[in-house]
Amino acid sequence: MDLMGKFTISASMLLTGFAIVFGVLLLLIFIIWLYGTIVSNAQNKSTQRKAEKELKKQKQIIAEEKTKTKSKPAFEKQLQKVETGVSDEVVAVISAAVYTMYGSKQKVKIKSIKRHKTQSAWARAGLLESNQPF
């Protein structure tokens, strides 16, 4: 290959490579941006709709609860049987765990929170063994 031939093939390859690689990847940027916007907008809308529905449901439940338990004391007062020494944070965590287990559909109430009686060392060891991950 003579010098001119070398120059020609080099310049044409540089130009072709540069143009195609950038062209294809710029096209991909546009497509990903486009579908990213469409998908995230659609998902935002659906989550917004879900949240609105959930809010409506909650409001309805609260309203129903209010009418049913007008004479009953508030939540804090309902949960009177919390053993002394159990902090509010622990109560909140237990409530959250119960909510996670049963969800909002089942109407579950926490009536009292007591400390568990101190277990024997053997019982604790058994519990630990059966709860350890495999």
Binding site: M1, K6, I9, S10, M13, L14, T16, G17, F18, I20, V21, F22, V24, L25, L26, L27, L28, I29, I31, I32, W33, Y35, G36, V39, S40, Q43
Partner: protein
Amino acid sequence: MEIFERFWNAIEGIYQGSGLVQLDWRNYVMIAVACALFYLAIKKQFEPLLLLPIAFGMLLVNLYPAITEAPQTTLMSAAECIKAKGTTEGYATTVINNVTYYNVPHYGGLLYYLYQGVKLGIYPPLIFLGVGAMTDFGPLIANPKSFILGAAAQIGIFITFIGAIFLGFTGSQAGAIGIIGGADGPTAIYVTTKLAPELLGSIAIAAYSYMALVPIIQPPIMRALTTKKERAVVMEQLRPVSKLEKIIFPVIIVVVISILLPDAAPLVGMLMFGNLLKESGVCERISKTAQNELMNIITIFLGTTVGATATGVNFLSLSTLKIIALGLIAFMMGTACGVLFGKVMYKVTGGKVNPLIGSAGVSAVPMAARVSQRVGQEENPGNFLLMHAMGPNVAGVIGSAVAAGVLMNVLK
């Protein structure tokens, strides 16, 4: 007396067939090179998963060259066949000029058969399947502009192509050498098997060696091309990417690239197939197999057979030295172009992009992204660039496959 004669003949036969007679000085040099690669892989831990099989393949082929020998059929007359094999039964016959010859087969060496996966372009796409199953394209989907940096780092491939042409290589050979700048081993092997199979050993070893040397080659270039202020830029957190977006991504990429550049379809197709297996979440078993067992098996086959192409006669030549020099230039140019485009993005976005993430555009996943993170933290220890650098890093994998498609399309 006959016993001693037979004994002596046997000893002589074994000696004549041994490496002491068969090997020349080039094989011994290559054995030393293989030992140096063992040192780098085991002691320095430079890409050991690939360097170790490559080095062992290199060692094997230089100790026993027949391990890569192709199968042959020898035509023997009846007398020759009986002398050599004791019988003529069971051999196919060929009649030439009314003389019957028996087709006596000689089976090929072990690595010859394993090498067919490289020669036929099977292993690199299968490696890409595993890479796809291991890669999270989330950072790229969250910030698609990263594709620009992935594209910029490929410029090194085409600049090196020019260098190779002017050093006397043919167009196809120059294309195969340039792809080293993509810093993607399977892509380099795939392109070389299609364009210049005679250079496979040198190119594969150069590509993997430079990939292993990313933490040494890249930082000085990155520091030289950026200011302290640029290196200290803290980038905004990426937006979360939904599962649906991650599932759509591989399908879109494979459709677009396969339509525009069909030559890149085997690589990109398998990469995206692996990624879809992972992201769909419904093929966990297959995805895990692609990531682990399949990937490991192919890595063993690919590494040893590629290493076995580096025989003394093939490897110890001036063209290998040129390839090693050009490969380094390709790699450095790719890094420099990525950083320079990072600087352009820094200016355009008003200082929101750290130019250091541009160097990760040269594939070499995830090593190049780690280097961006490390150099960034030298300026600002509280700066975490890793996820931002992963965007250009995985874009570089796609970019180098696109560049490979261009080279194969234009030069084949």
